[in-house]
Amino acid sequence: MSMSRRRVRAIVRKEFREYRRNGNIIATMAVIPVIFAITPLVDMSSTAASTLRHENLLLYMLGIPAIVPAIVAAYSVAGERDQGTLEPVLTTPIRREEFLLAKELAVIVPSLAISCLWYGIVIACVALFGPPAGLPALLRAPDLLGLLLFTPLVAGWSIWIGIAISARMADVRAAAQLGAVRDGQLKVYGVLSPRRWWAAPEVPTLDELGIHDIDASFWHGLWAPADTPPEVTDKLVAAVRAALADPEVQERFKKLGQEIWPPDFQTPEALAAKQKAEIARWTPVIKEAGIKVE
């Protein structure tokens, strides 16, 4: 099967133009590498003579090709979906392989360039400002080989995770965060709700980790004015319960990362109890911390 270079190039060029005008992608590309360059630089500057506090220091920097492509890919796929551009593109003569190849290239090329740039920056800093024995300690052949070999591999793997996650999530930010979590780059310690979160069921709750009585999940309720007749509130409650029981509504909520209260909590009494409990819980915290509404 023949691929059209012109079509692949068209998509790659379009992607680069979009990156340039997307603050989030620029920020990702600028900030993430700095984070991963800090450890080697700090370590090197505080190291006396020939001993390194950490072995294989260069390999720390594999974090750059591991994390940058996942986030850029997540933005790229989710952005395509949010703007509704996938359909017009796929109705052109482009083949799916060409489209996927172009998307991958558009992520991997800048990611690799940024990774190599930062490897260079760190090595140059050590050579110029580090201790005399720093450079040979840093540039060990196996490490360099590992870096050379693993940078593209890790980046390619990271892209797929970014694409897979963002294709599932409706929200760009949730996609980017979850992408990093699934990837193992961000370690999630626990969810702040009493039950595990459907979107990341492998993450334990704090309760399971032995930290009890922390429930800081966001919740939503519906209120009516105080003098609303009971038959009106009954009607509203029935309508809301019916809506929340609808599989399509549940699916949409799920996509937004929201969880629906279990049916026996979908009552005015349960909401009143929840509200009272929350007031009782947070009032002392607010008072103690001196939190004010601005």
């Binding site: 059209s4 068209a10 998509i11 133009r17 005008r21 017009p88 109705t91 003569p93 083949r95």
Partner: protein, 338 residues
């Protein structure tokens, strides 16, 4: 075809298409036989057959959820049909022909789907390359001039109004000089002035001989722009020229209005051979069933004058395509309720 129940029966779809396309040249631009698409148990559309001649503007009408967009996506090779067959721009609709078909057609989807951070020209450049058009700069220039956006090439798409974005999407669809142009609800959400602009653009394309497949639920739009229309409600309910559909479904009527109510309308209208029946539909207003308005109108006027009535109005009341549409969709709703 499930169009049979209820009276009056619409003409069998697909029968007159050969005649209509025969007036145009050569093989049909689009030919569809028994096409259907199911998603699991849900039928999006089924048993759809029609032919569209080259240069024809074909309206595809139906309520929301009738399967219009799914039909367009199927014919545009985005999704595969589950039954039936079709030939699009002379090429059989099969998975391996997807690229070849997409080369010859263009689809303007309901939402423009532009890259909002890119300029108008950059959007079109990307698509000109995807179509591998020769002389992209010239094509882009021509397409922008065709939609009246020549001065906005450098504007970011995100800064354009909805109507202008729709025009950019139309320019994008024109880039490849398509043999068949699919326009999916091109005026949804546009204000009247922007709608009129899009209508004029479609009129212009028709004059250039582009075959257009237009889905819409705006009936005055279809009536104004289309040579023929089909009404889809999961199955194809009817197909034909707008005027033919009106005549098929409705007896022709004369509306008569007088200054004062007629003392004895039965005596005035009853004796006229040209009038098949009458009924009062207002204090001094009457609807007369006639078979030929040309002979009936003078006869009715004379009879009214002879009866001493002060005539305000005698004229044929034109049923619109909207009446046809509502009649058919109501039939479906009632059949569904039964």
């Amino acid at each position: 075809m499930s169009a049979g129940q209820g009276s009056p029966a619409p003409r069998k779809p697909g029968m007159e298409t050969a005649a209509a396309s025969g007036a145009r040249s050569g093989a049909p631009a689009l030919s569809v036989q028994g096409l259907g698409k199911r998603f699991g148990d849900r039928v999006a559309f089924e048993d759809v057959s029609f032919e569209i001649g080259r240069g024809e503007v074909f309206g595809f009408l139906g309520p929301n959820g009738a399967g219009k967009t799914t039909t367009v996506r199927t014919l545009g090779t985005l999704i595969a049909p589950t039954s039936g067959s079709a030939t699009v721009a002379g090429i059989p609709l099969t998975p391996e022909n997807g690229v070849e078909i997409r080369r010859r057609i263009a689809i303007m989807p309901e939402s423009p789907g532009l890259y909002l951070r890119l300029s108008v020209a950059e959007n079109l450049e990307c698509f000109a390359d995807l179509y591998e058009t020769p002389d992209p700069a010239g094509r882009i220039d021509r397409a922008l001039r065709a939609v009246g956006l020549a001065g906005r090439a450098r504007d970011a798409c995100g800064s354009l109004s909805k109507g202008l974005r729709q025009r950019v999407a139309l320019a994008r669809a024109l880039l490849s000089d398509p043999q068949v142009l699919f326009l999916d609800e091109p005026t949804t959400g546009l204000d009247p002035a922007a709608t009129r602009d899009v209508h004029e653009l479609i009129d212009g394309l028709r004059q250039r001989g582009v075959t257009i497949f237009l889905t819409t639920h705006r009936l005055e739009e279809a009536e104004r722009l289309c040579d023929r229309v089909a009404i889809l409600n999961t199955t194809l309910r009817t197909i034909g020229r707008p005027a033919e559909l009106r005549d098929q479904l409705f007896a022709r009527t004369l509306t008569v209005r007088t200054l004062l109510p007629l003392p004895d309308p039965g005596r005035v209208f009853g004796g006229l051979p040209a009038v098949d029946g009458w009924q009062q539909d207002g204090p001094a207003s009457y609807a007369l069933a006639v078979s030929d308005p040309i002979t009936a109108t003078p006869a009715v006027t004379r009879a009214l004058v002879a009866a001493g009535a002060d005539v305000l109005f005698v004229g044929e009341s034109r049923r619109s395509l909207e009446d046809v549409y509502l009649q058919l969709i109501d039939q479906d709703d009632q059949a569904g309720r039964r």
